[in-house]
């Protein structure tokens, strides 16, 4: 009986086996199996490595250079006399370079205080999907600024280091969806020399920024830094910028309104004198043009 069962089972398998193999599968692709989920970096959280003023969680692609021309016009409250500020302009010209997918450097010069600045930005963790993925990008920025104005008091002994300022920033950001990206950026700014004895050398601030993508080529962006410790008692305010990123192919235009004049971290965090409530707001734009310096090699 046992043998018979075995025989019939074997016979059954042998008869049906090839029949199953020969059966016509509707979806041939299923035969070769699903691809294993791979770790994949979430890209394009912002259109540009800057939200508006502050650094964004996004990086330049390796081998590219971002030529940035930034303009901030005069205050709107100046009215028709100064054509709502458009008669005046402060600018910063910058060159940023993408070295690795998570490493970039940049230099820039602003007309405001004739200040030079340079930074290095590195992300140990990038937001990704798949195995061993991270829900957020963590990036660090370290920068230096150098005031280029003549000494305010030439009669005293002045040191070169007095021109320098530094900033250190951590960016934690997440692209929540195709539409929404948010980030926070705790920042510390150190100034070697401050104007008044009562001004602190160290300023601690928390930056927040985000993007709402409105269409394939237009996004609403905003960027706010709240100074937590070290804000002088009067005359200085927290910088808030709101605007639109418009992508036109090779260029990204960032058009916005901001109460800040400065275009590096030291300047816009510690030296913003405008007030939104009093229309002491400036129209400004960042023009970003990315050049491919080194062609990406096709992976073999």
């Amino acid at each position: 009986m046992k043998k018979l069962l075995l025989h019939s089972l074997l016979g059954f398998t042998l008869l049906l086996g090839p029949a199953i193999l020969m059966a016509q599968d509707e979806d041939l692709l299923k035969l070769v199996g699903e691809e294993k989920p791979k770790k994949e970096r979430i890209k394009y959280a912002f259109k540009s490595p800057r939200v508006i003023n502050g650094h964004s969680m996004e990086f330049l692609n390796p081998g590219t250079m971002d030529f940035r021309i930034l303009h901030r016009f005069g205050q709107l409250d100046q009215g028709y006399k100064n054509f709502f500020g458009l008669d005046q302009a402060s600018m910063r010209m910058g060159f940023d370079f993408g070295i690795l997918q998570n490493l970039m450097v940049g230099v820039g010069r602003s007309t405001f205080k004739k200040e030079l600045d340079a930074f290095i930005k590195y992300a140990p963790i990038r937001q990704s999907t798949g195995p061993w993925s991270s829900p957020v990008t963590l990036a660090f920025v370290s920068g230096i600024t150098m005031d280029g104005l003549p000494w305010s008091d030439p009669s005293r002994k002045n040191f070169f280091t007095s021109r320098l300022g530094y900033y250190f920033e951590a960016i934690i950001g997440r692209k929540f969806s195709e539409t929404i990206t948010l980030q926070v950026a705790p920042t510390m700014v150190h100034r070697n020399l401050v104007a008044l004895e009562t001004d602190p050398n160290n300023v601690y601030a928390l930056g927040v920024g985000g993007r709402i993508k409105l269409s394939q080529r237009v996004a609403f962006t905003w960027d706010y830094t709240h100074v937590l410790i070290g804000m002088p008692d009067s005359g200085y305010y927290n910088p808030l910028s709101v605007g639109f990123d418009i992508e036109t192919g090779g260029h990204v235009f960032q058009l916005h309104f901001s109460n800040a004049t400065g275009m590096n971290e030291r300047a816009f965090i510690t030296e913003t004198t405008g007030r939104w409530g009093k229309a002491e707001v400036r129209f400004g734009f960042n023009l970003s043009r990315v050049f491919q310096i080194k062609k990406t090699k096709h992976k073999e």
């Binding site: 025989h7 074997l10 016979g11 042998l14 086996g17 090839p18 193999l21 020969m22 016509q24 979806d27 041939l28 692709l29 035969l31 070769v32 691809e35 994949e40 890209k43 394009y44 692609n61 390796p62 081998g63 590219t64 195709e178 394939q216 080529r217 992508e247 036109t248 192919g249 090779g250 990315v290 491919q292 062609k295 990406t296 096709h298 992976k299 073999e300």
Partner: protein, 186 residues
């Protein structure tokens, strides 16, 4: 009992020979070219991770390709391709499902090159359209190489090119397919 093993061996052999009717690759090459005479630079992308399965018995053929796998020389072009044109987050893959219309002209057990007509449906950017093209199947040593090129009218697949760059991007992209298919063992 002995007879059963002989039978089993014979049937297994038959099963293997029948499974060799299918051929596949996971490293097929798909090239995308939307360069026109007025393009300031070459608009070319290449993907070397396409999956293709061919059933030599019925002539059924299928392709699947991840849109994010297209690599461009310029990073910005790759960004625009994914973000603005094919929207690879929304539509991660392109698929083709069709058949070799004149499958009977191909002798899969004999080395040689055969000109074939492939008909089927291409799904790209969420839109499915009928596609027909001629290509070449080369049988050599039990392996098959498949080569074809066909045009894709981008507007057919709701891929819109903004007015500003409309004359710099071809309205019809050339798609090149090169696959080296190996027998599929179950």
């Amino acid at each position: 009992m002995k007879n059963y093993f002989v039978l089993a061996a014979a049937l297994m052999l038959f099963a293997f020979s029948s499974s060799a009717q299918k051929f596949f690759t996971k490293s097929g090459k798909i090239e995308f070219d939307a360069t026109t005479s007025s393009s300031p630079e070459k608009i070319e992308g290449v993907n070397k991770t396409a999956t293709c399965v061919l059933d030599s018995k019925t002539g059924a053929i299928q392709f699947s390709v991840l849109m994010k796998g297209f690599a461009f020389e310029r990073a910005l072009m790759e960004e625009h391709f994914n973000e603005n044109y094919v929207e690879s987050n929304k539509f991660p893959r392109a698929e083709f499902k069709g058949a070799v219309a004149n499958n009977d002209v191909v002798n899969y057990s004999k080395d040689g090159t055969y000109t074939v007509t492939v008909k089927g449906k291409l799904t790209l950017h969420g839109v499915t359209k009928d596609v027909e093209t001629s290509g070449k199947l080369t049988v050599q040593g039990g392996k098959i190489s498949a080569v074809a090129t066909f045009p894709v009218l981008l507007a057919d697949y709701d891929v819109t090119i903004p007015g500003l760059v409309a004359d710099k991007v071809a309205k019809t992209a050339k798609i090149g397919v090169t696959c080296a298919l190996e027998p599929l063992k179950n």
